[in-house]
């Protein structure tokens, strides 16, 4: 438990560091939301000055930072200039949609990667292993952006699926079942992109982890004892190989979030991606900082979760902690 406590403390440190760094960068950066506003001839300069005062942007950096920390503690995360509303509710409305995408993509990707990785490790020269190798190399060379564009093109060209957004216009006012069916149809494309994008790494690591364990003396010993192949694979080798995979689960969230950001923009999914892009273009800095912090929080949460899972899955870590 001490170990987990330490990790929690470390994550807090990372979050604080990210927020502080973002504020310093904002301070150093030339130009801001109000400078863009000043360029608009229909807004008088006294209005801009007043607005600046109202948002507290005329105060020095430490004051602004502490005010922001205060508002973060209140669950507001600062104030959006462009939406004229607190950032946290804005973010949360979009983050739910992003989580829906990344959550389903994570589950699906692992469901596909684990059996394929185990199989290709078990039969190294089999056709499954060869096909996986080819498949992962091809996917590694295809950036998420192209995957998204290519799939979107095919879907539109062959009239396969619903594209763009979360719901069709006709679905308004339908029953819950109808709505979820519509949602699922809209999710297929973006989730496919995310799954395909994250598969190569997962497959590669699953295979490598399994291969390492299968190579160890105790597996050879169990084989010599006449234990069946399937039992060795799933009962003896897999629990030992799961360790690096759990850590990978924590790490892979980061690249998944990045891929999701891009996919959402391309497929116009109302998640964090379009919101963040708009905020960057509008220089709505508190939204940007909020979104970045949110992604950090998710990632930190992912690695913490991985730690807890490791703790549960690996008796070696537990005894280490007791000692």
């Amino acid at each position: 438990m001490r170990y987990l406590g330490l990790r929690l403390l470390q994550s807090m440190f990372v979050l604080l560091g990210v927020s502080l760094l973002s504020f310093v960068f904002v301070e150093l950066a030339p130009g801001n939301f109000f400078d863009e506003m000043r360029l608009n001839p229909r807004i008088s300069s006294s209005t801009v000055t007043n607005l600046r005062k109202q948002y507290g942007m005329d105060r020095p950096l430490p004051v602004r930072y502490f005010r922001w920390v205060e508002s973060a503690a209140n669950g507001e995360l600062g104030f959006s200039f462009a939406y004229n509303a607190p950032v946290a509710p804005l973010l949360w409305a979009r983050a739910r949609n992003t989580l829906l995408l990344t959550g389903s993509a994570t589950v699906l990707a692992w469901l596909i990667a684990l059996p394929l990785g185990i199989l290709s490790a078990a039969r190294q020269r089999g056709w499954i292993a060869q096909a996986c190798e080819l498949f992962t190399t091809a996917l590694l060379a295809t950036p998420d952006l192209l995957l998204a564009l290519g799939l979107l093109f095919m879907a539109v060209h062959f009239h396969w699926l619903h594209t763009g957004g979360m719901f069709s216009r006709e679905s308004a006012g339908q029953s819950l079942w109808g709505l979820s069916k519509d949602l699922a149809a809209h999710m297929i494309l973006p989730v496919t992109v995310l799954v395909l994008g994250s598969l190569p790494l997962l497959l590669k690591h699953t295979r490598a982890a399994m291969l390492e364990v299968l190579d160890s003396p105790y597996v050879r010993a169990s084989r010599a004892l006449g234990i069946s192949r399937g039992r060795i694979l799933f009962r003896h080798a897999l629990p030992a190989a799961i360790n690096p995979l759990v850590s990978l689960f924590g790490f892979s969230l980061g690249s998944l979030l990045s891929a999701s950001l891009l996919t959402e923009v391309v497929m116009s999914w109302p998640g964090l991606g379009p919101l963040l892009l708009e905020a960057v273009l509008d220089r709505d800095i508190y939204v940007v900082i909020g979104a970045v912090l949110f992604s950090t929080l998710l990632l930190v949460f992912g690695t913490l979760l991985a730690d807890v899972l490791l703790f549960a899955a690996d008796p070696r870590i537990r005894t280490e902690d007791l000692a």
Binding site: Q10, F13, V14, G17, V18, L21, S22, F25, V26, L28, A29, P30, G31, T137, A138, L140, A141, T142, P143, L145, L146, L149, G150, L152, F153, V156, H157, G164, L253, G254, S255, L257, S258, A259, L261, L262, V265, V266, L276, L277, A279, V280, L281, R283, I285, V288, I289, A291, V292, S295, T296, L299, V300
Partner: protein, 340 residues
Amino acid sequence: MKAKHGMAILLIFLGLLHLAVFAAGFLAPYDVAEQDRELPFAPPTRIHFADAQGTIHLLRPLVCLMAENSAQFGSYYEDTRKCFPIHFLVHGPQYKLVGVFATNLHLFGVDPPARLFLMGTDAYGRDLFSRFLHGGQISLAAGLLATLLSLGIGILLGTASGFHGGWLDAVIMRFGEIFIALPWLYLLFALRAFLPLNINPSQAFLLLIAVIGSVGWARPARLIRGVVLSGKERHYVLAARMFGGSGLYLMRRHILPQTYSIILTQAVLLIPQYVLAEVTLSFLGLGVGEPEPSWGNMLASVQQYHVLVSYWWMLLPGIALIPVFLSFVLLANALQARAT
């Protein structure tokens, strides 16, 4: 033996690619900004090896004149009666080879009024093939320079961290953890958000390199720190220290050479990632802007629904990236396999 051949082929392919992009002006038949207002969104020009009479032209293929269908805007037909041969080493628009030698010699071209668009044209009737070659100059250079920058920072901080140890090590590594903790695209967005938006292409190019390069230093720094940490305890390094070698001398002569293979592998891994980062940012309108072509902003028009639906060749600049990335991925694999 086989792996060695594979690596050689990859290196030759990548070398040729960089050469082609470097000499884009010579290989490209048209200027990047040259617009043909008569032929917006023209599909890739068909190359004929036989004319209307059925005579075979294997060595001098033909290109037929394109004309717009009067019935439908943006659709074209070929006038097979008016065909022109493709010439090699022709005189065309002026350009500067390698940015120095002014010339107007191009590898191939057709006589006007015929036009040769190998990858079709965009909304302004600009040749996508010429723009793709020139765009590569920006995208590849951004990738290479950003890799140099982030490896430079990584080597500096990694060796300092590993060699000095103590508080410096702790500070640098904790600082690096913050960078690794963030999803890279969020980090790129954030850095980009704090920098001015309305800038000219060359400023944007330098800015992109700075942003992309300063994001990725943490991972190489960590790897290099690890090698330095174990490397400085090696017996021959300790012996050199006993003989009175200074810190800098030990570093340069004995410790840094141990990190070369890791630096090389990291470079091959990072270059495609950073090229992709440029492509992504320019695609989203946060990078190098029009009229200067880059691999990213050439794809940006596909974000419009009707362009994606009606003009499939607008995706060609993206598809052409796959062999580029594939060869980098295979090269990285080969390097990693050689290291273990």
